[in-house]
């Protein structure tokens, strides 16, 4: 937090540090804090990125990959016979 009254926080945007307004995520100082990931649009944080959900989506996608790999393997195996 660099300016409590105006709800400005310092964030790292792809390696560049800049101030963004977090007033749309919290009004009272609860809500976002150091280490959180946020979606930024026109200088405002409009949503907090949910790390758990990100990992879950990614795992789901990878799971699909695993099934597919397995199918491919089975396909290859059956072609040999």
């Amino acid at each position: 937090m660099v300016d409590e009254a105006n709800r400005l926080a310092r964030v790292d945007v792809a390696g560049v540090r800049r101030n963004v307004n977090v007033g749309l995520l919290d009004d009272d100082g609860e809500g976002v804090g150091p280490g959180d990931w946020v979606l930024i649009h026109v200088g405002f944080a409009i949503s907090q990125v949910d790390e758990e959900e990100a990992l879950a989506t990614r795992r789901l996608l990878e799971g699909m990959g695993a099934d597919y790999e397995q199918e491919l393997e089975e396909l290859k195996a059956s072609a040999i016979e």
Partner: protein, 371 residues
């Protein structure tokens, strides 16, 4: 960057493409509309459409905020920009949007003080730094951007900044979707829902699409894997004879949206009875203006504007592009008279516009389109 690279994995993209191919009915043609210009941009940047089977067609929707600004509003903005003692501020894309005579950029070249800002807060800062000038902010965007303008106006009011004004062009996402669904021109099978708008409004406002029109909606993120997964989720709904709003972008979009942002918007804005959309005509209750509590900050109440409806240029087919009725390359002036450097229509100006996405990523012709 965290949560970005993870969703750009080319190998997983091919796997997902395989899943889609396995899920589709080869006899059937699927027309999916991506509502948001951010999706259109991503699809062409990463070649997402090349990974889809031939019978899955992506149609581009009206969700590019710069693209839907009608010429009359540009003319009104220029009239304010030319008024005595005004510093006129807007986002970069907006400066090149053609009005009936000229763009804001051309007005600037002729002496109007037009400045590009990245955030409404930059415009407010300019007002505070120039207390003897009037600073007008040309606000535009869907619900993604409207809360940021609203919070800025609240701050201007709290700080008693009396030389800051807003020309409000904020629009809402649901009315144009309803207009599209009611239009007989278009047969769509499902919607790739707008991820960023949904961070604010949530998923609930889209429930009317499955309920009243029987079409699936999947709210989607913007990375290539997000879009592919959303397409797969829609196809699974269609093939499984389900029809609902699903959220693929759970890492960013809570189902109920951002209540704080909605609250701030409700305080600062009210619905306009009508608003003209480029190419789509007048749509009732589809845009926002400042509420009475913020009347003193309303640029349209302070300045005279022509406020006339200006017909789009004859050659321009942006309306059909915005409705997904034609593909950009089908417009007669695409890539010839209309290019990003010299745009005739708005869809070529904004990088989120379908014409710009096609042009910038080399889609000049039918290519792999299916009839």
């Amino acid at each position: 960057m965290k949560f970005v690279d993870e969703f750009r994995d080319a190998e997983l993209g091919r796997v997902l493409a395989g899943e889609i191919l396995a899920a589709v009915d080869p006899e059937r043609h699927y027309k999916l509309m991506e509502v948001c210009g951010g999706h259109t941009h991503s699809i062409y940047k990463y070649g997402v459409d090349d990974l889809l089977p031939d019978n899955v067609e992506l149609v581009h929707g009206p969700g590019c905020p710069v693209c839907v600004i009608p010429m009359g509003r540009v003319d009104d903005g220029i009239a304010i920009a030319r008024a005595e003692n005004v510093i006129f501020t807007c986002f970069g894309d907006m400066m090149r949007v053609p009005g009936s005579e000229q763009s804001l950029l051309e007005a600037k070249a002729e002496g109007a003080d037009v400045r590009m800002v990245y955030s409404p807060l930059d415009a407010l800062r300019l007002a505070k730094a120039n207390p003897d000038r009037d600073v007008v902010f040309f606000a535009l965007g869907f619900e993604t951007t409207a809360p940021s303008t609203a919070l800025t106006m609240k701050r201007a009011k709290a700080e008693g900044v009396s030389n800051f004004f807003c020309m409000c062009n904020h629009v809402t996402i649901v009315p144009p979707l309803r207009a599209l669904l009611d239009s007989p021109d278009l047969r769509l099978d499902g919607f790739i829902g707008p991820g960023h708008v949904s961070t604010v409004v949530g998923a609930r406002p889209f429930e009317f699409i499955p309920a009243d029109y029987g079409k699936p909606v999947v709210i989607s993120g913007f990375e290539p894997l997000d879009i592919l997964q959303s397409a797969l989720m829609i196809i699974n709904q269609l093939e499984g004879e389900r029809c609902e709003v699903e959220n693929q972008y759970t890492r960013v979009v809570p189902y109920e949206g951002n209540l704080r942002a909605l609250e701030v918007m409700a305080e600062v804005f009210e619905l306009r009875p009508h608003f003209e959309w480029r190419g789509l005509g007048f749509i009732s209750q589809s845009a926002l203006r400042l509420s009475d509590a913020y009347a003193e900050f309303d640029a349209e109440r302070r300045y005279e504007t022509p406020g006339v409806r200006v017909a789009d240029p004859k050659a321009c087919q942006c309306g059909e592009v915005l409705k997904g009725v034609i593909k950009p390359w089908e417009c007669k002036v695409f890539g010839t008279a209309c290019t990003p450097e010299h745009a005739i229509g708005t869809c070529m100006v904004s990088p989120e516009g379908a014409c710009a996405a096609y042009y910038n990523y080399g889609r000049f012709a039918r290519d792999r389109e299916v009839v």
